[in-house]
């Protein structure tokens, strides 16, 4: 059993990067301040200069920096994505996280020494697909979509020549990642090309007395009654009227948390654990990274993982083990 799984942590700002490093991250993943990454939120992400400073800070403390370039270039305009790969290489990033095969091919041909990871946005979940990415573009690690049980991950790991990275905490995308068009349908802005699901420019929060109404464009996504914990205004976690009754159609507002399954994931041959949340504040980053660092250290020494209180930072203040334990099957 491998007890040295790598802890890969999010950072949306230089301050969050430092918080992640200081809290015990093995690697921090970031994005440039543009549409080349899947967290293209206003006021978030790194300028080239900020990334250079961040890489220096992390490397001084033996922590890696991974740059997510994980959206799909718009037809006829691949330039920003290729420039992002060039700049990540020049700045000294330890790896780039890619989704598009054209960008992966560009990185492999022009920067063979730059380690390439396959983003969850590529939605590669079977051995054939993953082997193709490894053989064609020299992908060294695949970030698995959140659709596999632990047993399926263990089986997959015996059939592929690359490392696997899995999400262990944070926002839970329940759709086929990289292929979901729900948000695009309502807003006209694509998470997969423009890097933002449920863009803030189209989100409205309205207080109707004690009721919080969340809207995406003209579509009411949810109505939270007084005291009811709220969630993100994403359609996949919306509560809609079905035969006159408000119901969650796909998933309720909840976050993924498998802090208690780390030994099982290690047993399944997982190389790296990913915490979601580049859009979250540095207080979240510090709290969650510290909790997982402590848990990983406990696993490494064979001690039980203590029950860390992470519920306060979860969406809807609820958590789930998601598909890792497919109880409903």
């Amino acid at each position: 059993m491998s007890a040295t799984m790598e802890l890969v942590c999010p950072a949306g700002t230089p301050a969050s990067l430092r918080a992640a490093v200081d809290a015990g991250a093995d690697a921090v993943y970031v994005g440039f301040r543009d549409e080349t990454n899947a967290r293209n939120f206003p006021g978030l992400n790194f300028s080239r200069g900020e990334l250079a400073d961040g890489v220096a800070y992390a490397h001084d403390r033996n922590v890696k920096v991974l740059v997510a370039i994980n959206t799909f270039p718009k037809a006829g305009n691949p330039g920003p994505w290729m420039k992002a790969v060039d700049d990540a290489h020049e700045i000294g990033a330890d790896a780039v996280i890619l989704a598009d095969i054209g960008v992966a091919d560009y990185a492999a041909r022009n920067h063979a020494d730059l380690r390439r990871h396959l983003s969850v946005q590529a939605s590669a979940s079977n051995p054939e697909a993953i082997r193709f990415y490894a053989e064609a573009f020299g992908i060294k690690r695949v970030v698995l979509p959140r659709v596999l049980t632990v047993a399926e991950i263990a089986a997959l790991n015996t059939q592929i020549p690359v490392e696997t990275e899995v999400f262990v905490f944070g926002g839970l995308c329940v759709m086929a990642e990289g292929r979901c068009s729900l948000s695009s349908y309502i807003t006209g802005i694509s998470p997969n090309k423009e890097g933002v699901c449920s863009p803030a420019s189209h989100v409205r929060y309205e207080e109707e007395g004690d009721v919080l109404v969340t809207k995406l464009g003209e579509c009411t996504v949810n109505r939270f009654s007084a005291g009811e914990p709220a969630g993100y205004p994403t359609l996949c976690k919306g509560r809609f009227l079905v035969k006159g009754k408000p119901q969650y159609l796909f998933e309720e507002p909840t976050s993924l948390s498998v802090i208690h399954m780390l030994p099982e994931l290690a047993e399944a041959g997982v190389t790296a654990l990913k915490i979601e949340g580049r859009q979250r504040g540095r207080a979240y980053v510090a709290q969650v990274v510290a909790a997982f660092r402590k848990a990983l250290d406990a696993v490494a020494t064979g001690e039980p993982v203590s029950a860390e209180e992470l519920a306060t930072v979860t969406e809807g203040r609820r958590e789930t083990a998601g598909v890792y334990k497919r109880d409903w099957r």
């Binding site: 949306g12 700002t13 230089p14 301050a15 969050s16 939120f41 206003p42 006021g43 978030l44 863009p199 803030a200 420019s201 989100v203 409205r204 929060y205 309205e206 207080e207 007395g209 004690d210 919080l212 939270f224 005291g227 009811e228 914990p229 709220a230 969630g231 507002p253 859009q279 979250r280 504040g281 540095r282 207080a283 979240y284 709290q287 306060t312 930072v313 979860t314 969406e315 809807g316 203040r317």
Partner: protein, 241 residues
């Protein structure tokens, strides 16, 4: 750009009671104070933050000069933050009616200060409904990210800006912080005492409700246990089955 319609302090009070904090009491005492008297301190604080954290305003450059109404629910004042890249300003108002901010952010003062300093996570505060956001969400998200990335420490920023006066001001602040801490503890004790009877009633009602739910669950199972099975008529099996 869509403008949010800020609630006045009166309508906000109708929407939800402010938390019982030392600021609430201090605010009551400050109510007769004209906001103009606060202005020199607010302007001074803004200059201190602007000078120490230029990246904050640089991160907001993608948003078109937004104005945020920062509305602490336990103070009789609200503050209008104008993000003019050349001269950002913070202005106090006792009545926000008539203002047309880009967005409004409402919550207890300490929550807002902790958010400003990145000590708590804004999304978590939103999930728990401790924070109310109205108006242009994109502008709020940009402000949140910019502020969180700036590593602001309100006290340190102001003290650093004071220069040689920083040391005596630090001592004064430490004394004030100790008084505040004691007051906060006392207020929490007072709050607990005030809500204790209501809490006791609520717990009794919850127990009663649970009892009723158990009875209903038991009743819904009883007929099933007592129900007699109807004899099933046997039919000849055919080849097509």
């Amino acid at each position: 750009m869509k403008r949010s319609q800020p609630q006045t302090k009166r309508s906000q009070a109708q929407a939800g009671a402010p938390p019982l904090t030392p600021f609430l009491l201090a605010g009551l005492a400050l109510r007769p104070v004209p906001p103009a008297l606060l202005q020199p301190f607010l302007t001074f604080s803004m200059r201190a933050i602007e000078r120490r954290h230029p990246s904050l305003f640089e991160r907001l450059s993608g948003v078109e000069e937004p104005e945020f109404l920062i509305d602490p629910t336990d103070l009789p004042f609200a503050f209008l933050l104008s993000i003019d890249p050349l001269l950002p300003t913070l202005t106090a108002y006792t009545d926000a009616e008539g203002l047309e901010p880009t967005a409004t952010i409402r919550g207890p003062l300490m929550t807002l200060v902790h958010l400003l300093e990145g000590r708590i996570d804004g999304d978590a505060m939103f999930f728990s409904r401790d924070l109310v956001i109205e108006g242009d969400t994109e502008a709020v998200v940009a402000l949140r990210n910019a502020v969180d990335g700036a590593e602001i420490d309100v006290v340190e920023d102001v003290l650093a800006f004071l220069g040689p006066l920083g040391s005596p001001a630090r001592i004064a602040f430490q004394v004030g912080a100790a008084i505040f801490s004691r007051a906060a503890t006392d207020m929490e004790t007072l709050r607990s005492a005030l809500i204790a009877p209501a809490l006791k009633r609520s717990e009794a009602q919850a127990a009663e409700l649970k009892d009723l739910e158990d009875k209903v669950a038991g009743l819904s199972q009883e007929p099933r246990r007592g129900r007699r099975r109807m004899p099933v008529k046997k039919t000849k099996k055919t080849d097509t089955e």
